[in-house]
Assembly symmetry: C2
Homo-oligomer: 337 residues x 2
């Protein structure tokens, strides 16, 4: 094909090809500050990462969608942090240490520069807290809601990843921290619950992933609670072909959650957004925990609580009240569909 | 907090907790067949992956949005494959071999089971072609367009990742395959160009990533062409603080592209969607290529073509016509914003 100048459309605007394209300058403005050594200054097609010698990698991906997982009115500084923390929680549940992360953004035209500046500043704070750095990603446009997708890479000593499979009948069911704050926080933000201290809203916006939780050798199986305690306990039981019974009176609740009163118990037990670790413990290991029900994490020690036990009946999860009666809910938890 | 049965809403429907939740069964139906050993049957919070000993990892992430990167009417079997191939192309440009991938899906209610069945069947075909397996991912709902985000993990011998930085003044500019087919294919699908054989449309739907291209030691710098030859050549020049001149008459075009005529040259050179590798070659290495302008890849040998050269003037990319005149375009390529 022989080109001729006449075949081209007239120049509409002058383009200096040494200028950065819009996408590149957007990335530099907001994401260069997050980039770790593997990111190659976010200038290449891919990151180059030397995995830590003698370790396995643990890799998870999670997406968050505006109007589904967060609201346009949520503080932008917390939205990215929450997504990062949800992914960190997946690593924590498997006993892995964070190594790096990648982010793709489908960006609607209405999201401002100020929004992204606050978004990435929040992420920078969390990178420092959890000792992790950005490896790469992609930005694209969309006419729909903002969609953020994050892939996190962590590492663990070979064979030490804690899986969902491994619980046995007779094991106790334990959780880190307190349950229900995140779900109540959402309802507080919606105006349904008073939250004078802002504690619940803060727990909703910024869950506390239990990164570095020293569960290897202690937990026989583990997962993080994102979709509601009852539903996620059901997953854990089902994966192990067991049943699990949770005593509602044992489920640890924060002071703020307790103040909400009994009518909100269902929200606490099925609402999700906890990002605590749910794990099974053999009777032998339970003796250790009974003496000192605390587990160390990267961000400090966390109290752990026995909330139930596994049994041989393949029946999923049930919750019983103070008189041993089964509590029934219309839905066991959050559905992504 | 002491629960009492009265505080719960009446049972709306019976839930058998041993049943799979909707999200899990969706994943099993469509994605279990793609899962490799690292995926742990897609049942855990994260994948566990043992990186190949003595190699570095190369990691890229790309998102595709309905209405931006593909149309709802596009064949579902090709949409996932195209996204996978775009990511494989990023690995190929850095000389990396694919290891595994993760996918997040933000799914609008209108996308059917049949659509996802065809989508994942297509991915299965490509997994066999490119010897790669799914590691994990996430599905969520959205009220907006379908958004797919893919993270790919590859590996390379230490220090052998080919980067964008490394071209020198005097190096030649080379490309694999042919340029413009993808961009013309889109216009053909839009009815603007005849495409009797369907070749162009097929190149748009299923680009051919040059996985395994043996460029180490040959290319001084490389990237893949996704946003248009002119724009991407400008990126390569800028990263190296150089200028690059492309001779339009040297740019390799397929027979189908040549048949479209000169009026479509701009589309070929700036339209993007090529997923060919653009690379710089030193004069010494060019002697090798001059004798045999072919590079081996995983899917067979590919012809490579010299289309221009780098020079010391930091001026981005320009394209000259057959009489040495500079061809001006209104836009150098595709913008993601």
């Amino acid at each position: 094909m022989i080109p001729s100048r006449q075949s081209f459309r007239p120049i509409q605007r002058v383009i200096t090809l040494t200028d950065l394209p819009q996408e590149f300058s957007f990335i530099r403005r907001h994401f260069s500050k997050l980039a770790g050594p593997a990111a190659l200054n976010l200038r290449d097609d891919a990151a180059v990462y030397t995995p830590p010698q003698g370790r396995e990698l643990v890799i998870a991906a999670d997406a968050m969608v505006e109007q589904v997982h967060f609201l346009p009115s949520d503080p932008p500084g917390t939205i990215g942090r929450k997504l990062l923390r949800c992914n960190l929680s997946d690593l924590a549940a498997m006993g892995a240490r964070p190594e790096g992360w990648l982010l793709t953004i489908a960006r609607p035209p209405g999201v401002t520069e100020e929004w992204f500046a606050a978004f990435s500043d929040g992420l920078l704070q969390d990178q420092k807290i959890f000792n992790v750095a950005l490896m790469g990603g992609d930005t694209t446009s969309t006419r729909g809601p903002l969609v953020l997708s994050l892939t996190i890479i962590g590492s663990v000593l070979p064979g030490q990843a804690i899986k969902r499979l491994g619980a046995r009948a007779g094991d106790g069911l334990w959780v880190t921290g307190t349950i229900g704050d995140g779900a109540l926080g959402l309802r507080a933000l919606q105006g349904d619950i008073p939250d004078p201290s802002g504690y619940l809203a803060q727990r909703y916006h910024l869950p506390q992933p239990r990164v570095g939780a020293a569960l290897y050798g202690l937990a026989s199986a583990a997962m993080d609670i994102s979709d509601g305690l009852l539903q996620d306990a059901g997953h854990l039981a089902r994966e192990n072909h067991l049943g699990v019974t949770i005593e509602a009176t044992s489920v640890p609740m924060s002071e703020a959650a307790q103040k909400c009163g009994e009518t909100w118990l269902k929200t606490c037990l099925t609402g999700g957004d906890d990002y605590e670790i749910l794990f099974s413990v053999s009777p032998e290991q339970e003796k250790r925990l009974a003496k000192n029900p605390v587990v160390n994490t990267t961000t400090g020690p966390v109290t752990v609580t026995r909330i139930g036990h596994f049994h041989n009946t393949f029946s999923g999860a049930k919750i019983i009240g103070k008189n041993g009666e089964v509590l029934n809910f219309s839905s066991p938890g959050w559905s992504h569909f």
